[in-house]
């Protein structure tokens, strides 16, 4: 029972991080109908920016959140304005944008190899190994902090999308871009803003992930697939759906450790991805628009 509770707690804490990165991917797909295959690249970039700030300037990873979010936001807007915008919209452009963003990912990965070599890196702070004890459970401080930041981010994002004019405009564009143009919403601006927010979430998730796990230039490819599982499972844009789906994935992954040899646990996410795509391509809760 003790072990069971530990695993459930571990899964819940992990789910916060998963939800953050998946929401970024889902937001971009929901509004632009573009699968951001570069999601993993931005996650990796976020991890390295946090690491660089910590190594060179001794800035605590949690304090570098604003920097990472700002940089990945700008990077996302640059990618949208410079590349994605020039592709045709709709189904014909779907595969093209997939290949294009894949190319961007290859470039980012190669840049990281050149700058930081292919070695595994970690962000190590003095509280990295510290843990909290509550109800007879020991939980790492870092994991609790990551979970808290992730939940906070999702709440803020939910409020932004439902309570502000711009947020409502984003949801409206997701429903029908043409009608938005008619009522005077600058759709192009909303597109680049959404792409920026989506990549900013990826960058944040990368930074948070880097404070828990080691990473290298290929970091993020597994997270891209996990995000995709969650988006498909949870449906588009609903914060609750994303959170539940993230929890399901985290539970499956964590409990797979009990049933499977260690080397196979990495394959669980991929198998789940294929199963989900085949059995429930509309998501557990049906396809929903943002909000």
């Amino acid at each position: 029972m003790q072990r069971f509770t530990e695993l459930v707690v571990a899964a819940v804490l992990l789910a916060g991080l998963y939800a953050t990165m998946a929401y970024g991917l889902g937001l971009i797909y929901g509004v632009l109908r573009v699968v951001n295959l570069n999601h993993g690249g931005i996650i990796m970039a976020g991890a390295y920016i946090g690491w660089l700030l910590h190594e060179k300037f001794g800035i605590d990873p949690y304090l570098s959140i604003p920097v990472v979010v700002a940089v990945s936001f700008v990077l996302g807007i640059a990618i949208y304005r410079g590349l994605v915008r020039h592709l045709p919209r709709g189904p014909a452009g779907a595969v093209q944008s997939l290949l294009l963003l894949f190319g961007v990912w290859l470039v980012l990965r190669n840049a990281a190899y050149l700058l930081f070599t292919g070695n595994d890196q970690t962000i190590r702070t003095e509280y990295s190994t510290r843990s909290l004890a509550a109800f007879g459970l020991a939980v790492s401080v870092n994991r609790v902090a990551v979970f808290g930041i992730a939940v906070l981010t999702l709440v803020v994002l939910h409020l932004f999308l439902t309570r502000t004019f711009t947020g409502k405009a984003i949801r409206a564009v997701a429903q029908n871009a043409d009608s938005c143009t008619l009522v005077g919403v600058d759709v192009e601006r909303i597109y680049s803003l959404t792409f920026g927010i989506g990549t900013a979430l990826a960058g944040l998730a990368g930074l948070l992930g880097a404070s828990l796990f080691s990473f290298n230039p290929s970091y993020g490819s597994g997270d891209l697939l996990k995000s995709f599982v969650i988006v498909v499972l949870g449906g588009l844009g609903s914060v609750m759906g994303t959170a539940v789906a993230a929890l399901i994935l985290a539970l499956v992954e964590v409990f797979a450790i009990l049933a499977l040899p260690a080397y196979l646990t990495g394959a669980v996410g991929f198998v789940l991805l294929v199963l989900v795509l085949v059995l429930r391509p509309g998501g557990l809760f049906g396809q929903r628009v943002l909000g």
Binding site: R33, V35, L83, H86, L87, P91, A92, G93, A94, V95, Q96, L98, L99, L100, F102, G103, V104, W105, L106, V107, R109, N110, A111, Y113, L114, S221, G222, L224, L225, F228, V232, P261, Y263, L264, G266, A267, G269, F270, V271, L273, V274, L277, V278, P281, G282, Q287
Partner: protein
């Protein structure tokens, strides 16, 4: 002429035969060094693999990022057969290809109901899961230390002609898959799955057939690669880079055409040789840049460039060009990329 189906044009047949004869006598006439002859063998092999990928990615519009699964499986099955049973290598290749095709059907039959980006991402999952399992399945793959095949003298120069034959078969198959009634069905599926089903084409059956053919051919290519390299290891055979290389060859050359992926494979092999020699740190990024540039400026790759030049000099009638481009276009025109076949999601 009655011997041939109506869609086989005489010039195409003559061109293929001429290319074959040239390819067959080339090493003798030029007195190619062993090194360059091996390069040509490898090029032939990857032309075949890129064309087989293109049957899925170009003809059906289903871009696969997981073809390394079949490449690796074909390679390891045939290597095991060669080591354990000492079969003649062509028989081992065919068995390897058949196993790869069966595996392709196992994961592909369910996932091919997905369209566009959904299918592509599912294939990333398939490829990575296969790689993980295979790396630890030491009884089949030898784990991370890989498998060595016995080296027989003269094998590599013999394989040159086998590679030429393999490539010729695959080119002929590509041609017939494009021009035959079956090929027109594939084009209909790529343009609009639902409409194709409405006019009596069975997308499920046809996609499965293409997947089987593509999986088999890529499996045979993997098996050939195993014989050719003498040493294979799962990280290379099943690696994501391997899957990407098929995508790149087809995209650089021109997805959906026949000459395109073949040209793309030639360029890819030459480029890789050069880059690995000169800029081993940069080659991944250069492929990425190439992909970005191609998609952004000429989605039909080198073939698109060729069309553009032909148009500039008035060498091509506009209606011919329009048909060619419509056939080759990247991605399908399906109503909703997430929609499943035969109705609402």
């Amino acid at each position: 002429m009655k011997l041939l189906p109506h869609w086989v044009s005489r010039p195409a047949l003559v061109a293929l035969l001429a290319a074959l004869v040239v390819g067959a006598v080339l090493p003798k006439v030029l007195g190619l060094s062993v090194y360059s002859q091996n390069q040509v063998t490898e090029t032939f092999l990857f032309v075949a693999a890129a064309l087989a990928w293109n049957w899925m990615g170009g003809y059906l519009g289903q871009v696969s990022f997981g073809h390394s699964a079949m490449f690796g499986l074909g390679g390891f099955i045939s290597a095991r057969l060669l080591l354990a049973l000492h079969l003649p290598f062509w028989l081992a290749w065919i068995v390897g290809g058949l196993v790869a095709a069966a595996y392709a059907l196992v994961w592909g039959h369910p996932t091919l109901r997905l369209r566009g980006p959904y299918f592509s991402i599912a294939t990333i999952g398939v490829g990575e899961a296969t790689r993980l399992v295979m790396t630890y399945w030491e009884d089949l793959t030898g784990g991370s230390s890989g498998l060595s095949l016995p080296i027989t003298p003269g094998l590599k120069s013999e394989l040159y002609w086998w590679a030429l034959a393999l490539m010729a078969l695959v080119i002929a198959a590509s041609y017939s898959l494009r021009k035959s009634t079956f090929g027109l069905g594939l084009l209909a599926i790529k343009s609009d799955v639902d409409a194709a089903a409405d006019v009596g084409i069975s997308p499920t059956l046809m996609q499965d057939i293409v997947l089987l053919l593509s999986g088999f051919t890529v499996g045979v290519c993997g098996a050939f690669y195993a014989s050719y390299q003498n040493f294979i290891e799962p990280g290379d055979m099943f690696g994501f880079d391997r899957s990407i290389s098929f995508v790149l060859m087809a995209v650089i050359g021109g997805v959906g055409t026949i000459i395109g992926p073949a040209l793309g494979a030639v360029v890819f092999v030459m480029l890789r040789q050069y880059l690995i020699g000169s800029y081993p740190q940069l080659y991944l990024g250069i492929y990425g840049l190439l992909l970005i540039v191609v998609i952004l400026f000429e989605p039909l790759g080198m073939m698109g460039l060729f069309f553009r030049i032909a148009r500039r000099f008035g060498l091509m009638r506009p209606e011919v060009e329009a048909t060619l481009e419509a056939k080759a276009a990247v991605g399908g025109g399906a109503a909703d990329p997430g929609a499943r076949q035969g109705g609402a999601p």
